[in-house]
């Protein structure tokens, strides 16, 4: 009956789906070796995280921590040569991505 609440519900479902697809792309990115496949998954990561960032104001207006922007930035960093060559830094970056994904998923429950 309330169009805004219905819209927010649909948007949350869409964003939940985006986080799941992002997680799948992340797992796939680390499980493939051919450069082209890796690039394709990296592009997906960037695309999904950018969408989450662009939609953040609509699903989490009370929080000004810009979690999705941080997530997008971290995903972009994955493609950086430094992180590809340094396993420990890559691990740290990946852990940060999982933390942000968990925080964003928590905002969907509010």
């Amino acid at each position: 009956m309330n169009p805004l609440l219905e819209a927010q519900r649909s948007l949350l479902a869409y964003c939940r789906e985006l986080t799941l697809m992002l997680k799948q792309s992340l797992l796939a990115y680390f499980s493939v070796s051919p450069p082209q496949e890796k690039k394709d998954y990296f592009d997906e990561l960037k695309k999904y995280s950018e969408e989450l960032d662009l939609l953040e104001a609509f699903y989490d207006s009370e929080n000004d921590m810009a979690l999705a922007k941080q997530l997008h930035n971290q995903c972009v960093l994955l493609g950086n040569e430094h992180f590809q060559d340094n396993e420990e830094d890559q691990l740290r970056l990946l852990a940060k991505i999982f933390q942000l994904l968990a925080q964003i998923s928590a905002t969907f429950q509010r």
């Binding site: 169009p3 805004l4 819209a7 649909s10 948007l11 662009l54 939609l55």
Partner: protein
């Protein structure tokens, strides 16, 4: 005068350079045939048309490109035009936006819903180039 319409499909993540901020419009409809028709209707104008066949990807396109005018179909699967309108009107950044809700037919109930969803204009299908262009001009998009 030479006319050239530029079309960007947001779903393909196209980055565009706009000649004039004020001539941009975003059209969201989950029916690709309608989008194709709109493309053709505006093909000999200098409006910069952004299109999306998915309302949430369209929302991303709106946030990213901030066109001054939005056309949105009332009946879509994931979220309808009235709900979409309520969602964007709840955001301060989109209070400037001219929203045109496109209806299948003239119906007072649908028109009232459009008004309740936040001061939106309605356009009834089917519409022609003259109607579309007139509405663009009326809602703030100025042709060069």
């Amino acid at each position: 005068m030479e006319y050239a319409m530029k079309t960007s499909e947001c779903k393909h993540n196209v980055t565009t350079q706009f000649e004039a901020q004020s001539r941009r419009l975003l059209y969201i409809d989950d029916n690709p045939l309608v989008l194709e028709t709109v493309k053709q209707l505006l093909s000999k104008t200098d409006y910069h048309l952004l299109i999306s066949d998915d309302p949430f990807k369209g929302l991303c396109c709106l946030v990213k490109n901030k066109p001054p005018t939005l056309f949105i179909d009332a009946n879509m699967g994931k979220i309808n035009g009235f709900q979409f309108c309520a969602l964007i009107r709840a955001q301060k950044q989109f209070q400037y936006l001219s929203v045109i809700i496109v209806l299948e037919f003239s119906n007072i109930i649908e028109q009232a819903k459009a008004r309740a969803a936040g001061d939106s204009t309605v356009l009834i299908k089917p519409f022609g180039r003259a109607e579309l262009v007139a509405l663009c001009e009326k809602t703030g998009i100025r042709a060069a």
